[in-house]
């Protein structure tokens, strides 16, 4: 009950903050209530993240100030709801197609709700999306985490998890990710309603909600589905600013792009794309200045934070050139090594014109080792619908230049181009933020030629097949959550089946305390661990664990300097030692040979290769060791 109330308060707070801003800007979207309130929620979500950054910086991450902030937002909601101009509550004409689509929407909502009611189990979320807010709450403030990719990055969306987790607990957090994960679909529906009927707008929203990458990420702590709302607001506001010449839309557009920038580095690329579009008009200087200032005001805080602590606002992208020399957690030598390894893994394609043109094909069919293109890709719809947009463009060629759809397409296209050329990672999932913008273009273009019956029928086939495939995938994804809800499975039982090494976490929580620090190599162990941990992946430079390492004394001292007291290591099923498949095997085996690691406990659990597909073929074993005092080094390697 408290969890649901906290989530509801945060939702109303976001709507209140956003509606207050829209009221201050005298922006009201009459006749389109879904767009009005979804834009209010999305912008308010960004404002909440900004205010939480200030509160966190001030060391006020305690229940009192955070509750006051939520209460103030709820008060603004009540005020704006009462005083907002009538935006109308037009109920769409419910023909048979609309009713079928509404029924499908109800199924999607049910599947998402099942996920929200289960404990969080997504690996990245447990590794850092949810663990960072937990750490900030524990410290009562924001503090700098000198780790690339999962610490020293823009954290506006992550900070939004703080109030629900602090005041409502884990249940409130997963309810929040469910609702905030819907926000982009709501804005998408609202924008489509400007151009099409309710049925096509519902089609667009459903296509987005059932996209594999969205099913995978929206209900977890992954940020892309939430960022998609910011991008959608920015694209719509930019098009409105160009259409009306009204600077107020430039403010809103800049803020939407800025909130994207404050949530992910790729947002800076999006700001450039949307900013370039808003400059393409007569009032380019005024519009550009207003857009740019709004964007920086909304989105520069985390870049300043990184610059303050590392010298590099885009840490670690520019660290080679402008990074500080005297950092104890990072060096320019290690930065070069890290970038070599990371960029090689994340960029399977050479940056050529052919690959630029064919990447959507590779992404759709999971070719060329594209990262995240398979089970968490973008689905077949963009490729299916692209020719319909071409036909519409040919037919309506004289009206294209004046259409807001053209602006949307250019923003999405520019973002894609810049992302392809200078983006750090080619993960297909990173395109989710601009997917709704593309869906608006594709669905509205199809609607524009739907007066021709054969076109309409073929498009209906493409939509029906996509929704059938994607909804089936969504149902399989939610199957474990539905089973857990129907059987009343306990949290421990659920996590045992869905989280690698959960039994090791339970032992650590029962036997160690806050004065200990556990070395982990599986980063998703961190969120449920009530003992401090140290993740020894490539994202840290304090403890060297590369395979060539053969000096146990240095390794021992680095672990001690990092505060490590214990370690959780995979072990083979048939004996002691370290799993030969573990990348850290050579140096850790050398340390084991010195006797510096004392075995305390052996835990076992299912070796989970896919939670969704339930592929568990064998048991997995974890040894929990204590790091002994340094007299262990005197005996040499045994």
């Amino acid at each position: 009950m408290i969890a649901a109330a906290t989530t509801l308060a945060q939702v109303l707070c976001c709507i209140g903050l956003g509606a207050a801003l829209m009221s201050a800007l005298r922006l009201s979207i009459s006749g389109n209530p879904v767009l009005h309130w979804s834009v209010a929620f999305t912008v308010g979500h960004g404002i909440l993240g900004w205010l939480l950054f200030i509160i966190g910086m001030a060391g006020l991450f305690t229940p009192g100030p955070v509750a006051v902030l939520l209460a103030a937002g709820v008060a603004l909601f009540i005020l704006t709801w009462r005083t907002a101009p009538r935006v109308g509550l037009a109920v769409p004409q419910a023909d048979a197609v609309t009713l079928i689509l509404l029924a499908l929407l109800a199924v999607v909502v049910f599947l998402d709700a099942m996920e929200a009611l289960a404990p969080a189990a997504d690996a990245d979320s447990l590794a850092y999306h949810f663990d960072l807010p937990k750490q900030f709450i524990g410290a009562g403030r924001i503090f700098f985490i000198g780790v690339p990719l999962e610490g020293a990055v823009p954290l506006l969306t992550h900070i939004g998890y703080v109030p629900v987790l602090m005041l409502g607990g884990e249940e409130s957090l997963t309810l929040w990710t469910m609702i905030s994960g819907w926000s982009a679909a709501a804005v998408l529906y609202g924008v489509c309603r400007i151009h099409t009927g309710a049925a096509m707008a519902l089609v667009a929203a459903l296509l987005f909600l059932t996209t594999p990458a969205v099913v995978y990420g929206a209900g977890s702590g992954q940020v892309e589905a939430r960022i998609a709302g910011f991008a959608m607001v920015a694209a719509w506001s930019t098009a409105e600013a160009i259409r009306t010449g009204n600077l107020r839309y430039a403010v809103l557009g800049g803020m939407g792009a800025g909130f994207f920038m404050a949530s992910k580095y790729t947002g800076a690329l999006f700001c450039a794309a949307a900013g370039a579009m808003i400059m393409m008009q007569k009032r380019w200087l005024a519009m550009g200045l207003v857009f740019g200032i709004s964007g920086l005001a909304a989105g520069a805080q985390w870049y300043g934070w990184n610059w303050l602590h590392t010298g590099d606002p885009f840490f670690p992208v520019l660290f080679d050139w402008i990074g500080r020399e005297n950092l104890d957690f990072w060096s320019k030598d290690y930065n070069a090594y890290f970038k070599d390894v990371y960029f090689a893994a994340e960029n399977p394609l050479a940056k050529t014109v052919i690959n630029f043109l064919l990447l959507p094909v590779y992404a759709t069919f999971n070719l060329m080792n594209m990262v995240d293109a398979g089970r968490v890709g973008l689905g077949p719809f963009p490729l299916l619908a692209a020719p319909f947009a071409v036909v519409a463009a040919v037919r309506l060629r004289r009206r294209i230049a004046a259409s807001p759809l053209f602006i949307y397409l250019l923003i999405a296209g520019l973002f894609y181009a810049v992302w392809f050329v200078i983006g750090g990672s080619m993960r297909v999932r990173h395109l989710v933020p601009v997917l709704p913008i593309l869906l608006v273009v594709l669905c509205v273009a199809a609607a524009r030629i739907s007066d021709v019956r054969p076109y309409r029928l073929v498009f209906a086939l493409a939509v029906a097949a996509t929704l059938a495939l994607q909804t089936a995938g969504h149902a399989v994804f939610a199957r474990q959550y539905i089973t857990a809800a129907l059987t009343g499975e306990s949290k421990d039982a659920f996590l045992y089946h869905n989280l690698r090494g959960y039994n090791a976490i339970r032992w650590v929580n029962e036997n160690l305390d806050r004065n200990d620090k556990v070395l982990v190599f599986i980063r998703e162990l961190r969120f449920y661990m009530q003992v401090p941990s140290f993740f020894a992946g490539i994202v840290q430079a304090q403890v060297g664990l590369d395979p060539e390492r053969n000096d146990p004394e240095t390794l021992y001292r680095e672990l001690r300097t990092a505060g490590v007291t214990h370690a959780i290591l995979n072990r083979p099923a048939d004996g002691p030692g370290v799993d030969v498949n573990a990348p850290y095997q050579p140096p850790i085996n050398i340390l084991l040979g010195t006797g510096c690691l004392q075995l305390l406990h052996r835990a076992e659990g299912p070796a989970i290769t896919s939670r969704t597909l339930g592929t568990v073929e064998q048991q997995e074993y974890f040894d929990i060791y204590a790091l002994r005092d340094e007299t262990c080094l005197q005996g040499g390697v045994q």
């Binding site: 759709t364 069919f365 999971n366 398979g374 089970r375 077949p380 490729l383 299916l384 020719p387 319909f388 036909v391 007066d451 021709v452 019956r453 054969p454 076109y455 029928l457 073929v458 498009f459 086939l461 493409a462 097949a465 495939l469 089936a472 995938g473 149902a475 399989v476 199957r479 597909l613 339930g614």
Partner: protein, 43 residues
């Protein structure tokens, strides 16, 4: 309005495109789709 010959021709091309993409998509993901089908007792 009765579609013109050109519109019918374009619609046939669009239809072929949609069917081809769907077939390739299903073939490419047949292993996952097979697992999904088994989960629902369809194969």
């Amino acid at each position: 309005v009765k579609p013109s010959l050109l519109q019918n021709t374009v619609a046939i091309v669009l239809g072929c495109w949609v069917v081809a993409v769907l077939i390739l998509y299903v073939l490419q993901y047949r292993s996952i789709i097979g697992i999904i089908a088994r989960k629902f007792g369809l194969s």
